[in-house]
C-alpha cells in the first residue's frame, strides 16, 4: 500500500498538467471554432509559395 504515497501525488501532478494544457487551449482560442478543424484536417495545407 505504501506505493500509494507515490502514486497519489503523481496523479495530482498529472491532473495539474492536464488542467494547464486545457487552460492554454482555451487561452489560444481553440474552442472558438468547433467545426472548422474537423474539415481542415482533410485539406492539403502546404501553403503555396508567395507569388
Amino acid at each position: 500500500m505504501n506505493i500509494l504515497y507515490l502514486l497519489i501525488p503523481i496523479s495530482l501532478a498529472i491532473v495539474a498538467i492536464i488542467a494547464a494544457i486545457f487552460l492554454w487551449a482555451v487561452r489560444t482560442g481553440q474552442f472558438e471554432d468547433m467545426e472548422g478543424p474537423a474539415h481542415r484536417i482533410l485539406m492539403d495545407d502546404d501553403d503555396p509559395p508567395k507569388s
Binding site: 501525488p9 495530482l12 487552460l23 482555451v26 468547433m34 472548422g36 474539415h39 482533410l42 507569388s51
Partner: protein
C-alpha cells in the same frame, strides 16, 4: 473544345452552360467551360493561384458570382483611415481586421480563402472561423492595402465586409472563455476526486483500508476540491453575496450555502479524521450546475445574435455626392459622418449605408436581413430603402433619410432589447415564487437541522446539506427566462419581431384575431387585377386603354398605364396617338385611335346593356369600340399571398377570426366570403373598430389585432396584443407589441404555435419543478438522500428544464414554398 453542348454544367457554379456561349477555363492541359464571364474569371483566378484542388475538395456548389465591377470603387473606401478607425487595429505598420465572409458554403471555401489570402504578398495571417463565417486578417500596410485584400476575396467569388467587433462581442467571448475554464476545472476535479472516493466507498467501514491511506486520499481530494470551490464555484458565492446584500433570496443562496457548508465540513473532517467527507459531492454538484449555466448562456447568445447581425451589415463607408445634382463628384467618407439630406451613390453589390430614398436609377434590393426573405425587391425613384440591404441591380443615387440610431435596423435592435429586458407576468411570477421558495427552503432546512441535531446529531449535518442541495428552484428561476429568450430568438428568425415582453404570453392565449383589410390582408395598392378579353389581344387592349388615359391623373388611369408598361410595351412614348379625346366626368373617356372610335370607362358608359361579372370588390372598367366591348378590366386592391393559408391555419388553431375595415361594406363582405371569415364588417371608422374590439373583449375574448401600425394605432392599443404588418421602413415606428417583418403572412400562425408551445414548455417545467421538490425535499429531510445523490438529482433536474426550454429555439415552422434553408441545430460549444 471551345463551344459547349447545352446542359453541360458550368465548371465553377454547376449551372447549365447556355448554348453558344464561350467562356473557357484553362486548367493545365485541360479546358473546361463556364456559364458566364463571372464564373470564368473566378475559376481562372482560383486555378492560376494554384488552388485548383478546391474543385476536388468542395462538397457544395457556390453561387454564380456576379460580375460587379462597380464594387471595386466602393472597396477603395476601406483604405481611408477614418473608415478603418472602427474595425482595424493598428500596430505600427501592421494592421488587424475582422471580416464577415459571405458565400461560404463548405469547408473547401474556408481552405480556399485562407490559402488565397495567405499567398498575397503583405498578408501575414488569415484565419477563418467556419462556424461564424468570420475571418481575421493581419497585413503589412506598406505592402498591401485592405482594399486589395477585399478585392482578392472578390476575385475568387466571395464577398467580404469589415465589421466592428464591438465591445459586446468581445465581452461575450471573454465570458464564454471564463465559463469554459470554470467548467474544465470542475470537470477535471470531479473525475479525479471520484477516483479517490471510489476505494473508500468500496472498502466501506470494514476497516480494510488503513487509516493513513484514507487520510492521504482525503488530503488529495481536498487539494483538488480547492480550485473547484474557489475558482469554478466562485460566481455562485458572488451571486449569493449580492442577493444577501440586497436582502433578497436568490437561487444562488441555497447553492452557495450547500457548497460552502459541505466543503467546510469536509475540511474539518479531514483534519480531525472524525467525520465523513463530501468532496465528491461538492465537485460533482459544481460541475453539473456550471453545465446548466453554460447551456443557458449559449441560448441567450443565440437569441441576441439574430438582432446583432443586422447592425453589422451596415457598411462602414459610403460614396457621397456633395454637389449633386449639379455635379457628380464622388467623395468617399465614413458612413458615420453621413447626415440626413446627403446624396450617396450605392454601387451594384454594395450595401446601403443608411436608410435612404432613391432619387435616381432603378434597381432591385435584397432586404433579406430584415424580412428573412431573399426575393429581390424592385426600387424606383421615391422608394424607401433600409440601411444594410444590398443593391442587386444597377447603381442608385439616394438621399439619406435617417442615420445612426434613427435607422430602422437600430430601432429594431432597440425594440428587441426592450422585449428581452421586459419581464412578462409569467417570468415575474416565477421570480417571486422562486424568491419565496428559497426563503421557505432556508426555514425548512433550519427546522430539519434542529430536529436531527436532537434526534441523531451525527447525521444532522449531512442531512441539512442534502436538503439544501437537492432543492431545485431552477425550473422557476432559470428555465422560464430561457424559454422566453429561446422563443423570442426563434420568432425573430422567422421575421416576427416582439417588441414587448408580454406579447408572447398573450399571443398564446389569443382567442380572437381581428384583421384590418387594406394593407393587412390586401396589399393596399390600386392595381389592375383582372382582364377579360373579348376581342383582340391583351397587349393591344392595354395599349389602347393606356393611350386613352394618357393625360389623366386618377388612380384608375395610373393603374392602367402601369399595367400597360408591365405588359411589355417599353415606354409610354410608344403608345398610339389619340385624336378627338373627350372626357366624360364620372363616366369615362372617348377618343379616336387610327381612325377607330374607342370608349373606356364605367360599363353603363362604354358598354350599355352588357354585363360581365368579375370577382366582387373590384372596380369594373370596359373598353369598347363601335362594334362592342373589346375588354373588361377589373381594378382594385389585391389579396396578399398566403392569406387563405393563414386563415386556414388560424382556424385550425381554434382562433376566431374577424375582419374590420374602413373599406366599402360590399367589398369587405366579398373578401370575407372568399376567405371564409364570417364576421366581416366594412365601412368602419377607427372609433367603430375600437368599439367592436371592446365589445369582443367584454365577452371575455383575448383579442389579437392585426393591422398597419399607423392608421390602426388606437385599435392596436385597445387589443391585448397587437401585431403590425407594416412592410419596411415604417415597421419600427409602429406602436405594436409585435411586428411582422416577413412578407409571409403565414408566419403569424407560426407565431401563435410557437407562443403556445412556449407556454406549454414553461408549464411543463413548473410542473416538473413542483413534483421534483415535493418528492426530493421530504426524502432528503428523512435522511434517505446522501449529498452526492442530492447533487446528481438537482443537477439532472436543472439540466432537464434547460434542455426542455431549448427545444423552442428550433421549433419547426410549417414548410412554405419560400422557406429559407433550415437553421442549423444549436451548437453546445
Amino acid at each position: 473544345m471551345p463551344a459547349t453542348a447545352v446542359g453541360q454544367p458550368c465548371y465553377h457554379c454547376g449551372e447549365a452552360v447556355p448554348q453558344g456561349s464561350d467562356y473557357p477555363i484553362r486548367s493545365g492541359e485541360v479546358t473546361r467551360s463556364a456559364c458566364c464571364r463571372g464564373c470564368q474569371a473566378v475559376a481562372q483566378t482560383i486555378i492560376d493561384s494554384g488552388n485548383a484542388d478546391y474543385y476536388r475538395l468542395r462538397t457544395d456548389l457556390p453561387k454564380t458570382p456576379e460580375a460587379a465591377l462597380d464594387e471595386l470603387k466602393a472597396l477603395a473606401l476601406y483604405d481611408l483611415p477614418e473608415v478603418q478607425e472602427g474595425f482595424v487595429k493598428n500596430e505600427g505598420t501592421l494592421r488587424d481586421a475582422s471580416l464577415i465572409l459571405e458565400g461560404i458554403v463548405c469547408a473547401a471555401c474556408v481552405w480556399l480563402n485562407e490559402r488565397h489570402l495567405r499567398q498575397l504578398p503583405g498578408v501575414i495571417a488569415a484565419d477563418i472561423n467556419f462556424s461564424t463565417h468570420r475571418a481575421r486578417v493581419r497585413w503589412d500596410d506598406r505592402r498591401i492595402k485592405l482594399s486589395q485584400i477585399l478585392e482578392a476575396i472578390r476575385d475568387i467569388g466571395y464577398h467580404a465586409y469589415p465589421f466592428d467587433t464591438g465591445r459586446q462581442e468581445e465581452l461575450f467571448r471573454k465570458e464564454r472563455n471564463a465559463a469554459i475554464r470554470r467548467l474544465a476545472i470542475a470537470g477535471l476535479g470531479m473525475m479525479q476526486v471520484m477516483m479517490y472516493a471510489l476505494p473508500t466507498y468500496i472498502a466501506g467501514d470494514d476497516g480494510s483500508m488503513p487509516r493513513d491511506i484514507e487520510a492521504l486520499m482525503r488530503f488529495a481530494s481536498l487539494l483538488l476540491t480547492l480550485p473547484v470551490v474557489f475558482y469554478s464555484a466562485w460566481p455562485f458565492f458572488q451571486g449569493a453575496w449580492r442577493d444577501l446584500r440586497l436582502h433578497r433570496a436568490g437561487m444562488d443562496v441555497p447553492v452557495a450555502l450547500g457548497i460552502g457548508a459541505a466543503f467546510a465540513a469536509s475540511v474539518y473532517g479531514s483534519f480531525t479524521g472524525s467525520q465523513d467527507v463530501y468532496y465528491d459531492s461538492v465537485v460533482m454538484f459544481v460541475f453539473f450546475l456550471l453545465t446548466g449555466r453554460f447551456l443557458e448562456m449559449n441560448a441567450r447568445k443565440r437569441s441576441a445574435e439574430a438582432a446583432e447581425t443586422l447592425v453589422k451589415l451596415i457598411p462602414a463607408a459610403a460614396v457621397r455626392l456633395p454637389d449633386y445634382p449639379t455635379a457628380r463628384t464622388e467623395e468617399a467618407i465614413g458612413a458615420v459622418r453621413l447626415a440626413p439630406g446627403d446624396f450617396v451613390l450605392v454601387a451594384t453589390g454594395a450595401a446601403f449605408p443608411s436608410d435612404a430614398r432613391v432619387v435616381e436609377g432603378h434597381s432591385s434590393v435584397d432586404e433579406s436581413l430584415l424580412t428573412g426573405e431573399s426575393r429581390p425587391i424592385p426600387k424606383h425613384p421615391g422608394s424607401e430603402i433600409i440601411g444594410g440591404s444590398h443593391n442587386l441591380g444597377s447603381p442608385l443615387i439616394c438621399r439619406v433619410e435617417r442615420t445612426g440610431q434613427d435607422t430602422v435596423v437600430s430601432s429594431i435592435v432597440r425594440l428587441l432589447d426592450r422585449a428581452l429586458a421586459e419581464k412578462p407576468h409569467l417570468a415575474q411570477a416565477a421570480d417571486r415564487i422562486a424568491s419565496s421558495f428559497v426563503l421557505a427552503l432556508l426555514v425548512v432546512a433550519a427546522g430539519i437541522a434542529t430536529y436531527w441535531a436532537m434526534v441523531d446529531p451525527a447525521r444532522a449535518f449531512w442531512i441539512t446539506v442534502s436538503v439544501l442541495v437537492v432543492s431545485c428552484p431552477c425550473a422557476l428561476g432559470l428555465a422560464t427566462p430561457v424559454s422566453l429568450t429561446a422563443a423570442l430568438g426563434r420568432l425573430t428568425r422567422i421575421g416576427l419581431l416582439s417588441t414587448r415582453g408580454h406579447a408572447l404570453e398573450v399571443l398564446a392565449q389569443a382567442s380572437d384575431f381581428v384583421f384590418d383589410k387594406t394593407g393587412t390582408l390586401t396589399d393596399g395598392l390600386f392595381r389592375l387585377r383582372e382582364v377579360r378579353i373579348l376581342r383582340g389581344d391583351r397587349d393591344n387592349a392595354l395599349q389602347l386603354a393606356a393611350a386613352l388615359e394618357q393625360g389623366a391623373t386618377h388612380p384608375i388611369a395610373a393603374a392602367l398605364r402601369e399595367a400597360a408598361l408591365d405588359g411589355g410595351s417599353d415606354a409610354a412614348g410608344a403608345l398610339p396617338h389619340v385624336q378627338h379625346l373627350t372626357y366624360h366626368p364620372g363616366l369615362g373617356v372617348e377618343g379616336e385611335i387610327n381612325g377607330q372610335r374607342y370608349r373606356l370607362g364605367a360599363p353603363e358608359f362604354a358598354a350599355p346593356g352588357e354585363d360581365f361579372s368579375l370577382p366582387a370588390g373590384l372596380t369594373l372598367i370596359a373598353l369598347a369600340d363601335a362594334q362592342g366591348v373589346l375588354a373588361w378590366f377589373g381594378l382594385g386592391d389585391g389579396l396578399r399571398p398566403q392569406c387563405a393559408e393563414l386563415v386556414a391555419q388560424l382556424k385550425e388553431l381554434g382562433v376566431r377570426l374577424h375582419l374590420y375595415s374602413g373599406d366599402r361594406p360590399e367589398n369587405v363582405a366579398a373578401l370575407g366570403r372568399q376567405l371564409g371569415i364570417a364576421d366581416a364588417r366594412g365601412g368602419m371608422h377607427p372609433q367603430d373598430k375600437l368599439e367592436a374590439v371592446r365589445s369582443l373583449q367584454a365577452t371575455g375574448a383575448v383579442v389579437a389585432m392585426t393591422g398597419d401600425g399607423v392608421n390602426d394605432a388606437p385599435v392596436l392599443a385597445q387589443a391585448q396584443v397587437s401585431i403590425a404588418v407594416d412592410q419596411g421602413a415604417e415597421a419600427a415606428q409602429a406602436a405594436a407589441d409585435m411586428i411582422l417583418l416577413s412578407s409571409e403572412l403565414v408566419r403569424l400562425a407560426d407565431g401563435v404555435r410557437i407562443a403556445r408551445k412556449t407556454q406549454r414548455v414553461i408549464r411543463q417545467n413548473l410542473a416538473w419543478s413542483v413534483l421534483y421538490n415535493a418528492l426530493a425535499i421530504p426524502a432528503a429531510g428523512m435522511g434517505l438522500v446522501t449529498p452526492w445523490m442530492a447533487g446528481i438529482g438537482m443537477s439532472a433536474s436543472s439540466l432537464l428544464v434547460v434542455l426542455n426550454a431549448l427545444r423552442l429555439a428550433n421549433h419547426p415552422t410549417k414548410a412554405h414554398p419560400t422557406e429559407a434553408p433550415p437553421q442549423t441545430s444549436p451548437k453546445i460549444s
